[in-house]
């Protein structure tokens, strides 16, 4: 190919040649911009890191292990059954939450009197039952729109030092909210 001399003549005005010249210019420009040996091309690593980050974010959000604190240490058990997603009631030493929304605070490891004895049933925690009912309602609506069938499953994540009185109150209230399959979440032996 004749090198470009910048001198306009009949040949260079031709559209085909003009295009070839453009291609040559672009190639030279790209060649000049090639990284030197020793420089790291991190674009590929960015892809991997982004995907890992998205995966961890998703796990961090749904994993009950993510919110373990000194107030929430489930007991250790030899049980081997895997966790399946369900309505979750989390009982730390300081409060009770349903699906990560706080429902009430505990005083001294117990439910304060004002929350108990609703409708004449001594074991019933009214606020908890109402919170659970709204979640149950939500799930039933999902089922009605052709989603997953409602199972009545409930995950109970509780600190190991809670007394049985509190557990029985929570289970009774959950029973009143149409939940009957309780699954205690425990840690495996390390």
């Amino acid at each position: 190919m004749a090198p470009s001399s910048g001198r306009p003549n009949q040949e260079e005005m031709d559209p085909v040649v003009e295009q070839k010249k453009k291609a040559r210019r672009m190639r030279r420009r790209i060649r000049n911009k090639l990284p030197e040996a020793g420089e790291l091309n991190i674009t590929a690593m960015m892809d991997i890191l982004t995907i890992i980050l998205v995966f961890l974010l998703k796990n961090y959000n749904t994993d009950p292990a993510a919110n373990l604190t000194k107030d929430l240490r489930p007991p250790v058990s030899t049980s081997d059954l895997p966790i399946k997603e369900a309505i979750t009631v989390t009982i730390t030493r300081k409060d009770i939450s349903v699906d990560d929304k706080k429902v009430l605070d505990l005083v001294d490891g117990r439910v304060p009197e004002s929350y108990l004895n609703v409708a004449g049933q001594p074991l019933l925690i009214g606020a908890l039952r109402d919170a659970l009912l709204s979640r149950v309602e939500h799930h039933r609506q999902l089922e009605a729109r052709g989603g997953v069938p409602f199972t009545g499953n409930m995950l109970l994540v509780g600190d190991r030092k809670l007394d049985y009185r509190l557990i029985s109150q929570v289970l009774y209230s959950a029973g009143q909210a149409q939940l009957s399959n309780f699954k205690f979440v425990t840690l495996t032996q390390q």
Binding site: L49, D159, K161, L162
Partner: protein, 170 residues
């Protein structure tokens, strides 16, 4: 005109260094806070259904294999700590009157090994029954309840014993 401007326009390079900083920090934070993927499992528990038919003492003859087995957990603090095993409404043989079937160990802990052995005796009489109703004192800790369920789930030779649990209230 615009045609020419396009071909002389250089593609500016994206500086990825700050993005990398954030990315690496976030990933390290999340990996550490998940503590190396703490494993969690579940235990299935039910409560006795209201109105469910229960075998009453005396009707046991027609349903030899399925007597109701109850396990009461007494609280350590009240001095009546330990396990009381009742089959078909009656305390297990060998239980001293008014005392738990499996008392606490000398240093005041629940005796899970002896509990497992006693439950093996019960299991021998009823091979097919896998249900126990556990009725703890209100003051009993959740931890004790879970360990009790562990102790009766499998026997000492790791065979399935009583994996199904109903919880009751005193």
């Amino acid at each position: 005109m615009t045609h020419r401007r396009h071909e002389t326009h250089e593609i500016s390079e994206l500086n990825l260094v700050p993005y990398m900083d954030i990315m690496v920090n976030l990933i390290m934070f999340m990996l550490i806070s998940m503590e190396g993927f703490v494993q969690m499992k579940i235990i299935n528990v039910s409560v006795p259904e209201i109105g469910a038919v229960e075998t009453k003492p005396g009707e046991a003859k027609e349903n030899e294999e399925r007597l109701s087995v109850a396990l009461l957990i007494g609280d350590v603090k009240t001095g009546k700590g330990g396990f009381l095993i009742a089959v078909d409404g009656k305390s297990l043989e060998g239980t001293p009157e008014g005392e738990p079937t499996v008392p606490l160990t000398p240093d005041g802990h629940y005796d899970y090994e002896t509990l497992t052995k006693k439950m093996e005796l019960v299991k021998k009489q009823q091979e097919k029954n896998t249900v126990v109703t556990i009725v703890p004192d209100p003051e009993v800790e959740y931890d004790v309840l879970v360990k009790t369920m562990d102790a009766i789930r499998r026997d000492t030779s790791k065979r399935i014993m009583f994996p199904d649990v109903l919880l009751g209230v005193q």
